[in-house]
């Protein structure tokens, strides 16, 4: 029930903030801050209460209610370690977003916060939904508030960027809807049970061709969100034009819904098809990593540069996810978190610079360190984070993905991806040089970070350093879900097919004789373990 309350809390706070803007502009900010802090508190409490050692159940908390029973649609929310981490991230960045908008947003303050909180609600819904219909619903719910955030409070080209964002996401979302419906009917025809329930749909058997096409619908939608080359081109515009809070949410959370979708839905629902897609997906991942870095290096617009860094970092997600390896997958989870922190922080810095000198053009900047040493130091930390410097969280993510994927089938591509260590250095140092070092092209008289901004930046710094030195706190939570996904997507090698068949037969048996369920399940578990043993040998 707590999961439902979270969403109600966010939506309620959003409405309240909108209403409060009738009186003044301070109240909506305060209400939103209170709402997001409460949300953050709840997730911290959930995290604290979550004991990863106990039990082997997949979901920590779940909630199911009837919604449209005729069509097999439920209101089903559930949280496992992965969702928990994503909720932590969402609520943390939620607080940050309210704080960074404190002075930046001065028009239609109430409506802004309404959109912000509904956006967070939609994202939270995506991270919790276990019913594909509800998932799609939340997926679309994320779209509209973000469209408004970009188009109303954005920079000069906001209308264009907003439309582009809307069209890309909407078109790919429709593909996903088709796939969801396809899966719904395939499963219905197979079993006679028409349902959108994720847990029942996992393991649906289907013809390889159909499976592959249905999976593509999901993967395209997720890759658009992940901004995989060549589906990335909405991202630079949207990120650049959005207000700071919008950029932070886009980079920090919206992109992660794509990664989350791949891990939660694309892989477990379509294991065989995923394996067939893997070479292409990994290739696109590596292309994104390097192409994104290359374009980042060429940009002259600060925010656009950071946007292309996102493209590059998200390539790691594809590389890691499609290596089907626990280490790489843990790296992916880490990458989702640290990218949100580091890129979010860079957007905040870019936004702060823009606020002060009203340009994003790197050629107008230079030598700012003398004026704003605190900003420079923070810039240094997060520039180093995004080039994967050890001691900061991004390193852990990247090295795990790289080492992990090298253990799989894509050794050459992994080695090629390693070139990012060099290209990332080039674009990262370029930021430092153009913005903070070098000659002053114009002498700006600008204030340094104030207390509010320092609170935001220091908390982000704290998190990124903590993740660099003690990432175990994240891995402990994500271990079970990651292992479950790897298990689901594991394809037996040809010589073990026989055993796999017997498992399948047991499955059928399972449905036919409900009395023997217990016995069969135990047998099945034994067999699965046996397969695992054989594979590890």
């Amino acid at each position: 029930m707590i999961l439902v309350w979270i969403i109600i809390l966010l939506m309620g706070t959003g409405l309240l903030a909108w209403l409060a803007s009738r009186w003044n502009t301070f109240l909506p900010r305060l209400i939103s801050l209170a709402g997001t802090i409460t949300y953050f508190g709840i997730t911290l409490w959930l995290w604290h209460g979550h004991d990863p050692g106990v039990g082997n159940q997949e979901w920590i908390i779940s909630y199911t209610a009837k919604w449209i029973p005729t069509f097999g649609i439920q209101f089903k929310l559930a949280m496992d370690g992965l969702s928990l981490l994503m909720l932590l991230l969402t609520s943390f960045l939620g607080v940050i977003c309210v704080l960074v908008s404190w002075k930046e947003i001065n028009s239609r303050v109430g409506f802004f916060h309404f959109n912000l909180l509904f956006e967070l609600a939609g994202i939270t819904g995506v991270f919790l939904s276990l019913d594909l219909f509800l998932f799609y619903f939340s997926w679309e719910l994320m779209l509209v508030p973000m469209y408004f955030l970009i188009s109303i409070w954005g920079h000069e080209d906001r209308i264009y960027a907003g439309k582009k964002f809307f069209l890309f996401t909407q078109a790919s979302g429709l593909l996903m809807l088709l796939s969801i419906l396809g899966l719904y009917f395939v499963h219905g025809q197979n079993t006679g049970v028409y349902t959108f329930d994720y847990e029942q749909l996992v393991g649906t058997t289907m013809a390889p061709q159909i499976g592959f096409i249905l999976m593509l619908g999901f993967v395209v939608a997720f890759c658009v969100k992940l901004s995989t080359v060549p589906l990335h081109s909405w991202l630079p515009d949207a990120h650049t034009q959005a207000p700071t809070a919008g950029s932070v949410i886009l980079a920090g959370l919206l992109l992660k819904t794509g990664a989350y979708g791949l891990i939660r839905f694309a892989l477990p629902l379509f294991p065989e098809a995923s394996h067939r897609l893997a070479p292409l997906a990994v290739l696109l991942g590596v292309v994104s990593i390097l192409y994104g870095a290359k374009l980042a290096f060429a940009q002259t617009d600060f925010k656009r540069l950071v946007a292309y860094i996102s493209v590059s970092h998200m390539g790691f997600i594809l590389l890691g996810v499609y290596s089907f390896n626990e280490m790489a997958m843990q790296g992916v989870v880490m990458q989702m978190i640290v990218h949100a922190i580091s890129t979010g922080a860079l957007f905040i810095i870019a936004g702060a610079v823009y606020d002060r000198i009203h340009t994003r053009d790197l050629h107008q900047m230079g030598g700012l360190w003398r004026q704003v040493p605190r900003m420079g130091t923070m810039g240094l930390v997060f520039v180093m984070a995004s080039m994967g410097l050890p001691g900061l969280g991004n390193f852990i993510a990247e090295i795990l993905i790289l080492i992990g994927s090298y253990q799989g089938d894509f050794k050459v591509l992994t080695v090629i991806a390693t070139v990012i260590l060099i290209t990332a250095t080039a674009y990262a140092l370029r930021i430092m040089q153009k913005v903070f070092y070098g000659k002053e092209h114009k002498v700006w008289k600008i204030p340094d970070f104030d207390v509010r901004e320092m609170i935001v930046m220091l908390s982000l710094t704290g998190v990124i350093i903590w993740l660099g030195w003690y990432p175990a706190s994240v891995f402990r939570v994500s271990q079970t879900p990651v292992q479950k996904v790897i298990e689901k997507v594991r394809i037996p090698k040809p010589d073990q097919e026989e055993e796999m068949e017997s498992v399948d037969r047991a499955d059928i048996f399972n449905i036919a004789n409900p009395v023997d369920v217990k016995y069969v399940t135990i047998k099945k578990v034994d067999q699965v373990q046996k397969i695992n043993l054989i594979q590890t040998e």
Binding site: S233, L295, G367, G391
Partner: protein, 623 residues
């Protein structure tokens, strides 16, 4: 006492943290005390830990906490103290502390005093992590960390874009090596299922056959990392430019930290090189080639710090040569001695530059020996050590050991020996060219101030070590003292000789002694008290080629940098986006086309209806 090992590492970090958060509000004296004090305390602790360790030299491992544990990769934040890492932390903290002390006066008037000490403390702390790490991932943390610090310190005077360029160059070039190092981790983890250094070293000989392809590949990748950090061929180009840093930084970078990381890495993973003879031989060849190439370049510099920079590259070349022929203890011996005299040379050069108000050109100095007596005498001792003047200098004992083993070691050869000997000649020549130009001859400019005692004390201490440090290890025929090699060989294998005749060793010692003295004499004839114009000398094409460091920069500019810049320029707008823009354009055109048909004219609609009807009827009746 050993349990305090973590504190040696933690102290510099603590110093950096205090300075970063509180430094700007507190007086400069306090900042200096924190900055210098933290590293000095580390040095004292190192001595205490070291004394206890001497009693019982079994490796000591201290696990501070578990970093993470994913799929069999479970590195700890853990420190491994054995004889090799003890030598390194001793040099790092001890020389580091002296350099910090020196900096307190040297940088006193600089606006970024606090920033400087934050970076310097971080530099020392990360280097300590590098040499103490018990697993490769933690080593990599220190490895990249010193790269970052070098970037920050080379670009310390950030207003000059040239310094920024040098800083970025240093970071990016070394990152090329780092990428190679990272790839070696993939292979090592795949093979050994761990990144713990000692576990890998234990398992490697039984897993890989000697000379197998994968062993050679891994060793070469490690070597790739090492040549990046240690500025060896072909990644040496960043080091001469790194002179943009303040002089104490150069001293730290060249003597105690950063460039010795490559030497450490190879010594640390020596087993992997021993089962890959091809790779180990490559190390020796790279070392030999580098020491000559860099030495030639040093001969033609006019900037006193650039002479020293090329000299570092060349001396690290000697260490690589020693590593390549399996003379592990000789390499580490030379590392220690080199740390002393090179730190001293940089600090001395820094003092000269400091009193001359930022004059780097040796041709504009001259005659300084009377005006700066302490600086001169200490600089002279260090120079003698660098030139390996026989018997009295520490450099002689360390370098001669390498030259001797290049011939007599079982992996040595006449070619390697000749290269080392030629290198020794060049070294002594450029060193005394530098001494004679800077301190003798006609005075071109007057020093504007005198170094105070904070600058002088480190010079004197280092001079003592550059002079006396060599006596801890004496050749077989002169005293036969083997303190260093006994100590090192508790961790690293003994060097085996192919020729075992003491009489030959004496001949070789005499040859290298004669070579060094001859070079000094030549330098005396060419440069002592000669009237040189203060302006930059004219150079012919060959001289310019050497002056420019064999034009490696030009080569890389043409082959790598320019294509990269070109690539990023041609596709700035991202052609993929143009595709979508085209799509949008076509849609808009179609929209215009179709909306043009909605013109509200009845006759047009009637005609379209009729035309449509005709088409449909045609399709139906004439399929």
């Amino acid at each position: 006492m050993k349990e305090l090992l973590w504190l040696i590492v933690a102290l510099p970090f603590a110093g950096a943290l205090i300075l970063a958060f509180a430094g700007r509000k507190l007086p400069r004296t306090f900042n200096a005390i924190v900055g210098v004090g933290s590293v000095s305390l580390s040095a004292i602790l190192t001595l205490l830990v070291g004394f206890e360790f001497l009693g019982n030299t079994t490796p000591f491992i201290q696990v501070v906490w578990q970093w993470f544990d994913v799929y069999g990769l479970s590195p700890n934040i853990a420190f491994h103290l054995d004889t090799v890492s003890l030598i390194f932390i001793f040099v790092i903290t001890f020389v580091g502390a002296l350099i910090h002390l020196y900096s307190a006066e040297f940088m006193w008037e600089d606006k970024g005093f606090v920033r400087f000490f934050v970076f310097m403390n971080l530099f020392v702390g990360l280097m300590l992590i590098l040499v103490l790490a018990d697993n490769l991932l933690l080593l990599y943390l220190g490895w990249e960390g010193v790269g970052l610090c070098s970037y920050l310190l080379i670009g310390y005077w950030y207003k000059d874009p040239k310094n920024g360029y040098a800083a970025r160059k240093a970071f990016i070039v070394t990152r090329i090596g780092d990428a190679a190092l990272a790839v070696s981790f993939y292979i090592l983890f795949m093979t050994f299922n761990t990144l713990n250094i000692q576990d890998i070293l234990t398992a490697a000989p039984s897993t890989w056959t000697v000379g197998s392809g994968i062993a050679v590949a891994t060793a070469l990748l490690l070597l790739g990392g090492a040549v990046g950090k240690s500025a060896q061929l072909p990644l040496q180009t960043w080091l001469p430019d790194a002179m943009a840093a303040p002089s104490p930084v150069s001293a730290l970078l060249h003597a105690a930290t950063m460039v010795t990381a490559g030497v450490y890495l190879i010594a640390r993973t020596h087993v992997l090189f021993e089962i890959a003879p091809t790779a180990q031989h490559t190390v020796a060849i790279i070392g030999a080639a580098t020491l000559i190439i860099a030495g030639m370049s040093a001969l033609y510099q006019h900037d006193i710090k650039k002479v020293l920079a090329y000299s570092t590259i060349s001396q690290i070349g000697y260490m690589f040569l020693a590593l390549g022929i399996g003379a592990w203890s000789a390499a580490l011996f030379h590392f220690v001695i080199h740390a002393f005299f090179k730190a001293l040379l940089f600090l001395g050069a820094g003092a000269v530059i400091w009193v001359m108000r930022d004059e780097h050109n040796m041709f504009k100095m001259g005659g300084l020996w009377k005006k700066l007596p302490i600086t001169f005498w200490t600089f002279l001792i260090a120079s003698a050590s660098l030139s390996a003047l026989p018997l009295i200098t520490a450099g002689y004992y360390s370098k001669d050991k390498i030259i001797w083993l290049a011939y007599a070691g079982d992996r040595g050869s006449v070619e390697l020996w000749l290269a080392a000997l030629v290198g020794a000649f060049i070294t002594a020549l450029y060193t005394f060219r530098m001494v004679f130009l800077t301190f003798f001859g006609k005075s071109h400019a007057e020093p504007t101030r005198r170094p105070g005692w904070i600058i002088t004390i480190p010079l004197i201490i280092l001079a003592v070590f550059s002079f006396a440090g060599g006596f801890i290890e004496l050749p077989e025929d002169m005293g036969h003292l083997t303190l260093i090699s006994d100590f090192v060989e508790k961790t690293l294998p003994t060097t085996t000789l192919s020729v075992l005749q003491p009489s030959t060793e004496l001949i070789f010692q005499i040859i290298s002694a004669v070579v060094a003295i001859a070079a000094v004499f030549l330098a005396y004839r060419l440069y002592f008290n000669k009237p040189f114009p203060a302006a930059e000398p004219q150079r012919n094409a060959v001289q310019r080629f050497f002056f420019k460091g064999w034009d490696f920069d030009l080569l890389y500019d043409k082959v790598i940098v320019e294509p990269m810049v070109f690539l990023s320029r041609i596709n700035k707008k991202d052609f993929i986006d143009q595709f979508y823009a085209g799509l949008a354009y076509i849609t808009r055109q179609l929209n215009a086309l179709f909306s043009a048909t909605q013109n509200g004219q009845l006759r047009w609609y009637a005609m379209v209806v009729v035309a449509g009807a005709i088409i449909i009827l045609t399709v139906i009746f004439f399929p």
